[in-house]
Chain length 346, copies 2
DNA sequence: ATAAAAAATGTGCTCGAACACATATTAAAA
DNA sequence: TTTTAATATGTGTTCGAGCACATTTTTTAT
């Protein structure tokens, strides 16, 4: 009853040859109305699922997927992505896939352009892109598109109709979550939103998080907080923030919009006056350390590993199994405290 | 350079036939020392990965996997599992797999035994089991084992050497997480651990969570809490708990060890005296509703969907791709508040 | 009516691993 | 040395989809 029908079965049932069935299934034409009718009749009754194994055995084209992302040696934020890429590579190693990683220097537009130039030269079937530089990205994507190379982006969103799929998180919502967390662990007083080393390339990220954060408190009636935004730049973070704390003794909560919560945590742990609550992003070692010490209360996990993983697998499954690529994959926004952190560290 | 070698390639390189290579690779014997040497020499140099697609095309055995779990109509806790099962079914629908679901009445041992009897009669290749009744489970697993049927368990752990893999969460740790959460949102006072409708079949679950919960506060120095355990049974939950609240005005936090936090939330939302913090389990509709109302503060997500999914996929990948089945798959323990709940509801 | 062109249909090979079976080689027995 | 047994090696088929090519049928033109 659960028997899998083959093209041969259909051919026999319809009284035609497998070639005809094949033509009907693939709408290749050259089929008489009568034969078409007969085959469709059979297809209506049975539930035909092509055997993907056989299909892939035949179609042994080598698909090449290139991943373009910032060098994790320069910005360790991207390090978990490598594990996600490895996972995907491992999972599909039986297939004819070449999955290659290409780094660029996240501080240099030129490096970004050059890396993409290299990738373009390889004419891969698809590219998974971490689009840091807005204008350059749009141009690059257009180039890929003109060569019929599919482009997925991850981590950062960029509005281009040539992007097949974006994998990432809803940053606005992520800001709201941070707000809710701080709200639940502090009473009243001043809350500081801290942007560290804001640059053109991550500004949108931070602003979106801030928007969500403020939105939460705006929606909440009779909220007893005042909210201040601070933009700090290394190497002056320590001095500036210390000054801020001294000038604002009523600070009860801090929301850091980047991976650099540990810088603030360091200052706070020295600042013994009162308990200040901290919420930040990303499970980099330093953050986890302060999380375990109780200086940071909650972290929000951006799940870069899974972003990279899903960015690749959606492409692979499209090539191999003809699965549709979704327009957007929004990952859950994981809340992490000292007790469940180990599950998310990767 | 990334070329995939085939058996034919090896044969040519070694100067033997593909039959001989096959015998060497599968250690089927009937190979002369000389030929063995020649083939091994080649294998040492190149990196041969058998093409799993071709292998599976040939070995087109139909694998049958049965999932045995409580009827979700009786206990909706199990409802998300169906989605996980469907996901797995969908993902592998191209392969020769029969994935069938069998329900039993979670309140009746007899039903459990009967369902397993039915499954045994089908002699599947593997079974994914939700082992509610301890003794009976051990016996059933032994029966499966004697028929060479692989058994994975999920949700509940049962110590039997015949279980290939357990998929679930670390309940002790989950208790600790709940403790940490309550600790971070309450100051001092009394904390109540509430077990609702504790029965033999879920007692271990609850106790393990309680152990973890208490362990957290034991480790913490100068904790200003007193912790009380309450065992409530329907239909007396409302009366008993109301009495408890009235007799203990210093209650500041509640940890409910089952999916029934909504019952407690209902009572609390009527009890206006002071803010009491609540942490519970599972994203059933009623709980989510109280989470959104702000009566429940945090939920812990047990991820039944993914438990079922991974329980199946580990089996499928073993059969299809000869992947090793891990002894244990521990899922992350997700912390959920009103803002990120939507991502986990399934 | 017949040839030529067009359309429809069927056949056969490929992909790589696995294994049955046929053939070749070597070793042991007569 | 020849026969027989044992062992080693090679060949060919299978799985299902896909596609090139061969063959058949139908249509159009002469």
């Amino acid at each position: 009853m659960d028997k899998k029908y083959t093209i041969k079965d259909i051919a026999k049932l319809a009284g035609v040859s497998k070639g005809t069935v094949d033509r009907v299934l693939h709408k290749r034409g050259k089929v008489s109305p009568l034969a078409l009718e007969k085959v469709n009749e059979v297809l209506k009754v049975i539930d035909y699922e092509p055997n993907l194994i056989a299909r892939n055995l035949k179609n042994n084209k080598i698909y090449r997927i290139c991943i373009v992302l910032p060098d994790p040696k320069i910005d360790p934020y991207w390090l978990p992505c490598l594990n996600g890429i490895d996972d995907a590579r491992q999972e599909f190693k039986a297939y004819n896939l070449v999955i290659e990683t290409f780094y660029f220097n996240p501080e240099k537009k030129k490096s970004f352009l050059k890396t993409n130039e290299t990738v373009l030269g390889l004419s891969p079937d698809a590219v998974l892109l971490a689009p840091l530089f807005h204008k350059e990205t749009v141009d690059v994507i257009e180039e890929y598109h003109s060569l019929n190379i599919i482009v997925n982006t991850f981590n950062n969103q960029v509005e281009s109709s040539f992007v097949q799929c974006f994998v990432g998180q809803d940053l606005f919502r992520s800001g709201r979550i941070a707000a809710k967390l701080l709200d639940s662990i502090t009473d009243k007083g001043q809350i500081a939103i801290v942007h560290i080393d804001e640059t053109y390339k991550n500004a949108i990220h931070m602003q979106e998080k801030e928007r969500g954060f403020r939105n939460y408190f705006e929606e909440k009636e009779n909220s007893e907080y005042t909210i201040t935004t601070l933009k700090l730049k290394n190497p002056n973070v320590e001095i500036s923030f210390n000054n801020f704390l001294n000038e604002n003794p009523d600070v009860s909560g801090i929301f850091i919009t980047t991976s650099k919560a540990y810088q603030i945590a360091k200052i706070i742990s020295a600042f013994k006056h009162k308990k200040i609550r901290v919420v930040g992003y990303d499970l980099v070692d330093e953050n986890v350390s302060y999380l375990n010490q109780g200086v940071i209360d909650f972290m929000i996990h951006q799940n870069q590993k899974r972003q990279a993983y899903l960015g690749i697998t959606s492409l692979v499954e499209y090539f191999l199994f003809h699965k549709e690529i979704p327009e957007m994959i929004l990952l859950p926004i994981d809340i992490v405290n000292a007790e469940n952190a180990e599950y998310y560290i990767e």
